[in-house]
Symmetry: C2
Subunit: 138 residues, 2 copies
């Protein structure tokens, strides 16, 4: 969003990931994916709400609050949304995420549906598919 | 992503929502939010994977597959990611979503953190916050 012009807002959409220990999650997403912090607000109890960006795409990270129907994957035992990260070099980004602490779900490989892609689960239980469309045969 | 140029891919990020009955979910997101279908592939069993867009932002919808760790909110009893939809007229978009079948979690209101925002849950169990930053006092 363009905060300098809130009078006419073009539609935009961003995912907000619920996690346990949002502060650690923000640090992980920076280390694993090179995410940039747009802003981060915390409360005295340590919970945070952070807006991050990878490339031109924003996403949000917030401590879970089951009373407000915001559940972490650890609380529910799985995730209801996975993140699709499209990058120029999936192998390199995948390896960096694993080095930062992500676990391989399945490695990067060429898929018959035309993508080179792999899948990791981050230390907070969110799954990420990291890939790109394969160059089309001409 | 720009499918006409896959040789140099700028990073982009999109959420993939797991649902029961992806075909109905795609129809709902079109009706509720005016989502555009970028593409949609189905298998003989009726499961779909669809890429949609609202404004300039893509997201994905896919039938759940617990064997592949893709769980719908109905299966887990809640959601681990909520979607933040920023629009020029939150009240109108919120009302349209409710008319299309979403349920109000809390109505649109001015929040002390500087947003006008409301929250709905869609018929597939995903939560959406629909709002925009309030104009700043000068």
């Amino acid at each position: 969003m363009n905060e300098s012009d809130t009078t006419k807002q073009k539609p935009s959409l961003a995912a907000m990931l619920s996690v346990r220990n949002g502060a650690r999650a923000v640090a992980f997403y920076k280390a694993a994916f090179g995410a940039r912090e747009i802003f981060c607000v915390g409360d005295p109890g340590g919970a945070v709400v952070a807006q991050l960006a990878i490339g031109a795409t924003d996403f949000w990270v917030a401590d879970e609050s089951p009373a407000n129907l915001n559940f972490s994957p650890e609380t529910l035992g799985g995730g209801t949304v996975r993140m699709v990260l499209v990058v120029d070099d999936p192998d390199a980004v995948f390896a960096a995420a694993v080095s930062a602490g992500a676990i391989v779900v399945w490695p990067v490989d060429d898929k018959d549906y035309g993508w080179r892609v792999g899948r990791i689960v981050d230390p907070f239980g969110h799954h990420w598919e990291i890939g790109k469309p394969l160059a089309q045969e001409s």
